[in-house]
């Protein structure tokens, strides 16, 4: 080692020594605790300060472990040093609290810094600790915090509005009351210019006034005035408002705004003023009140209860008796024995008030001796004088007789309603909002088939499960909308499964006065029978309609003025009008004018009640103008009140009957005429026969033959109802009596049907021809033959004429007759004239040829093979 080196080392040692000294000085004199512990946490060094903190001498630490010296802190230090070993990092600002051996039971706070002390290799060989006792600081801080908090709490709990405004006008603090009043949060206002805050910014004038006041406060003035601010819900509050500056010497620290809500006080003031104004007349009013109060009042004085005063109501109660100055017993002998005087005595004696309710009292106010029963609510209030003794009794009360009566009436009405509810045949029920039965009456219980009591408290769906689908939407609708719903429903009832019933149901909301719907009311009516009756009615109506429409006679309903109300088909067909046409007309319109008066006269008799129905034959004029005879039967339908409502007319078409009657009359006249005519004819026959007959015998023969011929024609016509006769029949029947057998008559011709006129005329002609033929012609000898032929002459005019030929052969030679007798006149002239035809007679040597041409009006040609009779 060189000297230099030695010198250097010395220098180094000196330096180290110096550092060590410094450290020691620091260690010993520093106001903080310092220590070193080895890895086993044994104290290596401890300075005085720390020893002082720990309350143990420094030497007592050395060589001992932390656990031994500071058992309560050992655990924490183990944890801290363990953390340092694990991380190699220092643990700084570790605050903890605990007790020290020096002061057990006293909690102290420390702030500690622990750091690793490494050897030359960097290995941690020890831990250095710096401990600062921060107990006092901490306590001071906590005291401050607590104090601040208390201030805040006090400020916040004040009803008074308080805040703090920075010199520039920024609001830095506002208490709870001020925020809550306007429902503000701190962030709404803190940091904003004071005058721009919610409370003021509803009105520019308020803001301006506030700013001016703030300027004055800033200059050192305490400003106080009443201000109206805005609080929650746009309400306003009147404030006793103050701005107070706080200075630190010359420097303005802040301005404190404070305010008290004097809204109520303001209102109270206004009310007090009003009351005071009123009080002036109170004395008078009290008197009036006493006098006119609806309750009866009286003041009784002394032990004998002498009336001092009594108000109008009292006087009315006691029947207008003059009471003042009189003792009650003398005034009201009629009340004696009812206990009232005894009560007064007792109240007077005891000084205890008496309150009576509904007390009956009997007055004989009208002097009739009949006591009137009334009921009173009243108070006997003792009046105590200045000496503390009872001096009188104040009587105050109400006559509740009417009230009782009202109540009784109300109860009666309630009973009635109850009875109605219980006994009405309509089903009634009340449900709560859960649709549980609250009430149900007997009728509804019967409808449901379940006892009344079994409903209560149960859900409607328990009772009527099968109707849930139908009812639930309706009921919920009532609960939701509060609107009444009415409908018909049918289904099974619980009590009688399988029986289908129909009901009309009405559901209405049960509402409270505030409109809240608290349930549903139900009105249910069993309409099964009604429905059945309606169905039966419809069926009956249909049957009636069927009868009405299908009747074989006309049926109509006719209004009292004659208008057709309803008519059936048959009537339409009788009168030839359509139903629509008829319904716009009256029966007068279609009644034959000659029959109308008679009809109206009889109708008047029905209306007046003289007869209940009438019947008549009359004529309608049909639409086509023709008349139709009808038999009319009319009855009157009356209303239940007896008032005539309409006529029911039954109309039978009797035109056929009328025609038959007319026909019969015609026939009767015709018969008379024909009979006389026939006599005239027979007279003619007789006369004509007599003119030509040579003897009476001859007359008799000719006359009876001619009559016979007429009878033949008549028989033929009768057989055909006088319409006519087939030509061949006519020929054969007329000629048979003349002996035509054995081929002496030859008939030939098509089927021709002669009219009645031609039947008579041609029959007569054949008779006369045959008579002549037997007398002078072909049939006068045994070999003579007559041929009768007829043809339809179709080559001339259309329609064809009938040509009839009578040809005699095989008889004697004929000569034309010299005299024109009856027969000849008939054959040659009259038959042709009568038929409008022509005739030609030829008296040939071979025999008579007679030809008659008949115009088509007198006959009908029948088609070959026959056919129906044409006439």
């Amino acid at each position: 080692m060189t000297a230099n080196e030695i010198s250097k080392r010395k220098q180094t040692v000196a330096e180290l020594q110096s550092v060590n000294n410094l450290l020691n000085t620091i260690l010993t004199t520093a106001p903080i605790g310092i220590c070193f512990v080895d890895r086993d946490l044994r104290f290596v060094r401890v300075n005085e300060r720390l020893a002082e903190i720990n309350g143990i001498p420094a030497e007592a630490h050395l060589g001992r472990t932390v656990s031994e010296v500071l058992p309560t802190l050992a655990e924490i230090l183990h944890e801290v040093t363990g953390r340092i070993l694990a991380t190699g990092e220092a643990v700084l600002n570790h605050e903890f609290s605990g007790e020290t051996p020096a002061a057990p039971g006293v909690t102290r706070f420390w702030c500690e810094h622990w750091y690793p002390v490494r050897d030359g290799t960097g290995e941690i060989m020890a831990f250095g600790g710096i401990v600062e006792d921060i107990t006092e600081r901490r306590l001071a801080e906590e005291a401050l915090r607590a104090s601040e908090e208390r201030v805040h709490q006090v400020i916040d709990s004040m009803f008074t509005f308080v805040g703090m405004i920075a010199p520039d006008g920024t609001l830095t603090e506002a208490n709870h009351a001020s925020l809550a009043a306007a429902r503000l949060s701190r962030s709404d206002v803190i940091g904003k210019p004071f005058w721009d805050c919610y409370w003021w910014n509803y009105d520019l004038a308020v803001q301006k006034r506030l700013r001016a006041s703030f300027d004055r406060a800033v200059r050192g003035e305490v400003v106080r005035y009443e201000e109206t601010i805005r609080v929650a819900d746009d309400q306003q509050a009147v404030l006793d408002f103050m701005l107070k500056p706080v200075f630190d010497g010359e420097r303005l620290l802040f301005v404190i705004p404070s305010a008290e809500d004097i809204t109520w006080r303001k209102q109270a003031e206004a009310e007090r003023q009003l009351r005071e104004a009123e009080r002036a007349s109170e004395g008078e009013r009290l008197t009036q009140f006493f006098k006119q109060a609806p309750s009866f009042m009286a003041m009784l004085d002394g032990p004998d209860h002498v009336f001092q005063r009594a108000n109008d109501a009292y006087l009315r109660l006691v029947g207008g008796r003059n009471v003042v100055g009189q003792p009650v017993r003398e005034l009201f002998p009629d009340v004696e024995g009812q206990g009232f005087f005894e009560l007064l005595d007792e109240v007077y004696a005891s000084g205890q008030a008496f309150v009576g309710r509904d007390v009956p009292i009997a007055f004989q106010n009208d002097g009739s001796g009949v006591a009137e029963q009334r009921f009173l609510d009243f108070v006997y209030q003792p009046v105590v004088g200045l000496d503390g003794q009872v001096s009188g009794i104040f009587v105050d009360g109400h006559d509740v007789t009417e009230h009782r009566r009202d109540q009784a009436a109300l109860q009666e009405r309630l009973n009635e309603i109850e009875a109605l509810y219980a006994n009405t045949p309509v089903g009634l029920a009340l449900f709560d909002r859960d649709l549980q039965f609250v009430r149900v009456n007997k009728a509804l219980a019967e409808i449901n088939g379940i006892p009344q009591s079994d409903h209560i408290g149960r859900s409607i769906w328990d009772i009527l499960p099968t109707l849930r689908d139908a009812l639930e939407p309706r009921l919920l609708e009532v609960l939701q909308t509060g609107e009444v719903t009415e409908f018909e429903v049918s289904g099974e009832i619980p009590g009688k499964p399988g029986v289908i019933k129909a009901w009309s149901a009405k559901y209405y909301p049960l509402t409270q006065p505030n409109g809240a719907i608290v349930g549903v009311g139900a009105i249910v009516d069993d309409i099964t029978e009604r429905r059945r009756a309606e169905a039966a009615m419809r069926a009956s109506e249909a049957r009636f309609r069927g009868t009405f429409e299908n009747a074989a006679v006309g049926v109509a309903h006719v209004a009292l003025d004659g208008a057709w109300l309803s008519v059936n088909e048959k009537l339409c067909s009788i009168v030839g009008y359509s139903r629509d046409e008829l319904l716009t007309m009256t029966f007068q319109d279609i009644t034959h004018p000659e029959d109308l008066d008679a009809d109206l006269a009889q109708q008047g008799q029905v209306l007046s009640g003289e007869v209940s129905t009438y019947a008549m034959d009359k004529r309608y004029v049909r639409k086509d103008g023709s008349e139709v005879w009808i038999a009319l039967t009319v009855s009157l339908q009356r209303l239940e009140t007896g008032e005539p409502d309409h006529f029911i007319s039954v109309i039978v078409d009797i035109s056929a009957q009328k025609d038959a009657e007319a026909h019969r009359e015609f026939l009767m006249r015709e018969l008379a005429h024909r009979a006389k005519n026939q006599l005239a004819v027979i007279q003619g026959v007789a006369s004509q026969t007599a003119r030509s007959a040579g003897s009476l015998d001859e007359f008799r023969e000719l006359f009876s033959n001619r009559l016979q011929g007429m009878v033949i024609s008549a028989d033929l016509l009768v057989a055909q109802q006088w319409d006519g006769t087939p030509l061949e029949d006519l020929v054969r029947r007329h000629l048979e009596p003349f002996g035509t057998a054995g081929g002496r008559l030859v008939c030939q011709g098509p089927d021709v049907f002669l009219g009645s006129n031609a039947t008579e005329s041609i029959g007569l002609a054949f008779h006369e021809l045959a008579t002549n033929c037997v007398k002078y012609g072909a049939w006068s000898v045994p070999t003579g033959v007559v041929r009768v032929r007829w043809t339809l002459d179709s080559d001339g005019a259309q329609p064809p004429e009938l040509q009839l030929d009578w040809t005699e052969r095989g008889g004697p030679a004929v000569t034309p007759p010299t005299r024109e007798g009856f027969g000849r006149r008939v054959i040659e002239r009259m038959v042709a004239q009568k038929l409008g035809g022509t005739v030609n007679s030829v008296f040939d040597v071979g025999g008579l040829s007679w030809t008659l041409r008949v115009p088509p009006t007198q006959f009908v040609a029948l088609p070959p093979g026959g056919g129906s009779r044409p006439f």
Binding site: K676, A680, V681, Q683, G684, Q688, M830
Partner: protein
């Protein structure tokens, strides 16, 4: 009773009665026109013959002789109704100038009536 030289129209559709009337009138000396069996024939005969009187059967089949009567009234030719009708009252009301002879009649009754009307 002589009716000469009257020309008497006979209107009658019953053949026997027509023949009898013809004989009666002719026997009374008058000339017979007809007998016509229809109104149509009768009106034609009136046109063609200067008749001076007429006997009218009222009913002619389905028709009547009233058109003939009207013509005769218009021509102022006297006539009688020869009818079996019971409603002669209505007839005399309608035809106050006519004389009515009821069927059955006698020749004398007819001729008297004819004489009466022709003499007026």
């Amino acid at each position: 009773m002589n009716l000469h030289p009257h020309r008497v129209l006979i209107v009658e559709d019953e053949v026997f009665i027509a023949a009898e009337l013809e004989d009666i009138v002719r026997d009374a000396g008058a000339e017979v026109v007809g007998p016509a069996m229809s109104a149509h024939d009768a009106l034609r005969l009136i046109e063609n013959h200067e008749i001076t009187a007429a006997i009218l059967d009222v009913r002619l089949g389905d028709h009547d002789s009233l058109p003939v009567a009207r013509r005769l009234v218009a021509a102022a030719i006297p006539f009688i109704f020869h009818t079996g009708n019971s409603d002669s009252e209505a007839l005399s009301n309608d035809w106050p100038q006519a004389v009515i002879v009821r069927k059955p009649s006698t020749p004398e009754g007819l001729l008297t009536a004819l004489a009466a009307v022709t003499k007026k």
